[in-house]
C-alpha cells in the first residue's frame, strides 16, 4: 500500500455509513433489553431501521415486523425479518467499505454468480431458531445460566452433523460467551454489536436455504501463499491461508483463500492448535517452509475459497511470500463476496505495506509520509512468532486490511525488519510444524502434548 492509498482510504468518512451504523446501534440496543420490553425509544429504533429499508425488497416484511414487535407481539417470523433487515443494512455498509478499499488500492473484483440453492430445513435448525428467538425476546440483559445452557442438547446434535458445521461453530462460540458472562445483568457493559452480529448471522443460517451448497469448480495450477490468518474460539480453530492462484490453463492470477479447521477444547491453545490440523500435512509443510503448492482438481467456490484437499496438493519450490506480494498481489483478481457473508467483519484484504515508520506511542501505527494506518496487534495469533515488538521494529509487512469499530486496521500476517542490527522475518505460519523458537519449543515440551493427552483420555474413557 502506498502513502496516497492509505490517505485515500482513511480520509473522508464514507457517505451514509455512519447513518446506517446508527440504525444498527439502535437495533442492537433494543436487543440488549429484549424485544419483549422495548419501550417507546427502542421501538422507534426498530421502526427507523425498517423505515430506512422501506424501498428495498425486504421493506414490506420489515415494516410489518417492526410494527408487530413494537405492539408487543413477538413471533419468530418477525424476529427473523428484523434480523434480515439488520443483516441487509450491514451488507450495504460492507459493500461501501469494500468498494472504497478496492478503489483505493486499485483491486479488481469478480462479480458474484449465485449457485443453485436447495432449501431444506429440519428439526435441528428449528431447535436453534427457537433458542435464538428466545434470546431476542429476553434480551442480553436477561440471559442467565439456564437460558445460555438451553441450547446445549441441540448443540450436541448440531456438532455431530458436518453439513451444519458453520452454524455449529458460530452457535457454540456465542453460547460459550453467554455462559461465561451469565448472569449478563451483572455485566458492567454488554458487547452489543458483537452479540447482535452473531445472533443475526445464526438466525439467517438456520433458515431454509441459509446454508448455501459448497460445490465449486475444480481447478488446477500453482498456489503461492501470502500468509495465514488464524481464527480460534474455545472449541474451534481455523487457519485461513491467503494466496495467489496461477491457473494451469493460463487464465489471470486470482486472489484466493483456503481454510483448514478443527474442533477443539479450550485447553488446546498456542502452538498446540497446529497439531489439530495435521490432517493437512502438505499445507502445513508449505506454510512452515514458505513453499508454493501445485494443486490438481481442487474445488474453487465462487467466494474465492479453495476447498482444501491435502491429497490433491503437492509441494512446489521455495516461494517467498514477500516476493509474491511484491510481484503478483497488485494484479490479481479478487473474488466476489457471497451475499450472506457481506458483513464488515469479513473484510480481510491482503496488502503489502513498506517504507513506513512506527511513531512512539501506545498504539502501533504505520506512518507512510504522514498517512497513518493503525495496526491491530491484538490480532497476532498465539500459535505464531509475530509479537507487537517485532511489528514495531518491522520495515515491511504483509497484512490484512480490516475494518472494525468505525475504522480501518491492518492485521499483520508477516513482517520483515531489523532487530538488534540483524534482519528478521516472521510469518504467522512459521510454526505450523512446531515452534522453531527454542524458548517456545521448550515451554511446549514442558507442557507435553495436550492433544495426545486428551486423545488418550478420550480413548480410554469415552468408549466404556
Amino acid at each position: 500500500m502506498l502513502s496516497v492509498q492509505v490517505a485515500e482510504l482513511t480520509g473522508e468518512p464514507l457517505k451514509g455509513v455512519n447513518e446506517a451504523l446508527d440504525l444498527v446501534t439502535g437495533f442492537d440496543d433494543a436487543l440488549v433489553n429484549g424485544f419483549a420490553r422495548l419501550g417507546e425509544e427502542r421501538a422507534a429504533a426498530l421502526t427507523a431501521l425498517a423505515g430506512a429499508m422501506a424501498a428495498t425488497p425486504v421493506g414490506g416484511r420489515l415494516g410489518e415486523a417492526a410494527g408487530k414487535v413494537a405492539a408487543g407481539s413477538v413471533a419468530e417470523e418477525h424476529v427473523t425479518a428484523l434480523a434480515g433487515g439488520r443483516t441487509a443494512l450491514l451488507g450495504a455498509v460492507h459493500d461501501a467499505l469494500l468498494g472504497s478499499l478496492d478503489a483505493a488500492i486499485g483491486r479488481t473484483r469478480a462479480s458474484w454468480e449465485e449457485p443453485p440453492v436447495t432449501a431444506e430445513s429440519d428439526n435441528l435448525l428449528s431447535g436453534c431458531r427457537s433458542w435464538l428467538s428466545e434470546l431476542a425476546i429476553t434480551g442480553w440483559r436477561g440471559v442467565d445460566h439456564d437460558l445460555a445452557a438451553a441450547v446445549d442438547q441441540t448443540m450436541e446434535a448440531l456438532l455431530a452433523e458436518p453439513r451444519l458445521r458453520r452454524l455449529a461453530v458460530l452457535l457454540d462460540g456465542l453460547a460459550t460467551e453467554l455462559r461465561a458472562s451469565s448472569p449478563v445483568a451483572a455485566m458492567e457493559k454488554v458487547p452489543a454489536r458483537r452479540w447482535a452480529d452473531l445472533w443475526a448471522r445464526a438466525l439467517l443460517l438456520t433458515q431454509a436455504g441459509g446454508l448455501p451448497p459448497a460445490a465449486g469448480e475444480p481447478v488446477s495450477g500453482r498456489l503461492l501463499p501470502l500468509g495465514v490468518d488464524v481464527h480460534e474460539h474455545a472449541t474451534a480453530v481455523q487457519a485461513q491461508v491467503h494466496a495467489i492462484f496461477e491457473p494451469a490453463d493460463g487464465g489471470p492470477c486470482r486472489l484466493v483463500r483456503t481454510s483448514v479447521a478443527a474442533m477443539k477444547v479450550d485447553t488446546i491453545v498456542g502452538t498446540a492448535v497446529w497439531r489439530l490440523l495435521t490432517g493437512s500435512p502438505v499445507l502445513l509443510k508449505a506454510l512452515a517452509n514458505h513453499l508454493s503448492l501445485d494443486i490438481k482438481d481442487m474445488p474453487l467456490l465462487n467466494s474465492g475459497d479453495l476447498v482444501w484437499h491435502d491429497d490433491r496438493a503437492a509441494l512446489g519450490d521455495l516461494a517467498d511470500p514477500f516476493a509474491t506480494a511484491r510481484i503478483q498481489l497488485g494484479g490479481a483478481l479478487a473474488p466476489a463476496v457471497p451475499p450472506l457473508d457481506r458483513h464488515p467483519v469479513r473484510i480481510a484484504e491482503p496488502v503489502l505495506v513498506e517504507g513506513y515508520t512506527v511513531p512512539k506511542g501506545e498504539e502501533v501505527v504505520f506512518d507512510l509520509d504522514g498517512a497513518r494506518l493503525t495496526v491491530d496487534v491484538e490480532r497476532l495469533p498465539t500459535c505464531g512468532p509475530l509479537t507487537p515488538e517485532l511489528v514495531r521494529g518491522s520495515e515491511s509487512c504483509i497484512g490484512l486490511v480490516r475494518w472494525d469499530g468505525g475504522r480501518w486496521l491492518l492485521q499483520p500476517l508477516a513482517v520483515q525488519g531489523t532487530v538488534k542490527k540483524k534482519p528478521v522475518t516472521a510469518h504467522n505460519g512459521d510454526w505450523a510444524e512446531g515452534a522453531t523458537d527454542p524458548k517456545v519449543a521448550k515451554a511446549e515440551a514442558r507442557n507435553g502434548d495436550a492433544v495426545a493427552v486428551l486423545r488418550e483420555r478420550a480413548g480410554r474413557l469415552l468408549r466404556k
Binding site: 490468518d229 474442533m263 486428551l454
Partner: protein, 161 residues
C-alpha cells in the same frame, strides 16, 4: 458514558472470553468453572483406568472428591485431598488466581495460597454430572471432520489479551 466504552460496545470483534493459559494436562485433564462450582477431573496416579471427580462450591467453599464410579475418595477427611489440591493448582494455572478466587468468592491473603481458603468442609455431591461434562468435552476431539470455509470465525480472531 465515555468514548472507549462506546467503542467497545460497537466493535464486532470485542473480546468477551479470555483464552485460557496453556498448562500440562496429564494430571488434571479437565478444569472448569460452571454451575456454581470449580470442578474438574483428576487422573488417578495409580490406576490408568480411574479418574477422580473433584469440585468446590462457590460461596460455601464446601468440597467433594469421588471416583468416576461415585466411590468417595479415600484421601478425603478433614482437609481437601491431593486431588482437590491438584484441581486448585491447575485451575490457577489455567485461569489465573484472580479469576478463580473471584468465582469461588474466596478471600486469599496477599502472597497466600488459594487452597488454604478452601475450608467449607466435605459436602457430598454427585460427581456423575461433572464426569459426563468431561466426556462431552473430550467428544469435541472426536467429531467428524468437515471441509469448506467457516466464514463466521472471522468474529473470533486468535490473539492475545
Amino acid at each position: 458514558m465515555n468514548a472507549d466504552r462506546t467503542a467497545w460496545e460497537e466493535r464486532s470483534v470485542a473480546r468477551v472470553v479470555s483464552p485460557v493459559r496453556p498448562r500440562k494436562l496429564a494430571k488434571v485433564p479437565f478444569v472448569e468453572m460452571a454451575d456454581g462450582r470449580l470442578q474438574g477431573v483428576v487422573s488417578s496416579g495409580s490406576d490408568i483406568e480411574r479418574v477422580y471427580v473433584s469440585s468446590i462450591a462457590a460461596g460455601t467453599l464446601t468440597y467433594n472428591c469421588s471416583t468416576n464410579n461415585n466411590r468417595p475418595c479415600g484421601g478425603l477427611y478433614g482437609d481437601p485431598c491431593k486431588h482437590l489440591r491438584s484441581l486448585v493448582d491447575e485451575a490457577v494455572l489455567q485461569y489465573g488466581l484472580e479469576r478463580v478466587a473471584g468465582y469461588l468468592k474466596a478471600e486469599v491473603p496477599e502472597n497466600g495460597s488459594l487452597i488454604y481458603s478452601i475450608q467449607g468442609g466435605v459436602e457430598r455431591s454427585q460427581g456423575a454430572a461433572v464426569f459426563s461434562r468431561f466426556l462431552r468435552h473430550l467428544a469435541y476431539l472426536e467429531l467428524p471432520a468437515a471441509s469448506g470455509p467457516l466464514p463466521e470465525l472471522h468474529w473470533f480472531p486468535s490473539g492475545v489479551s
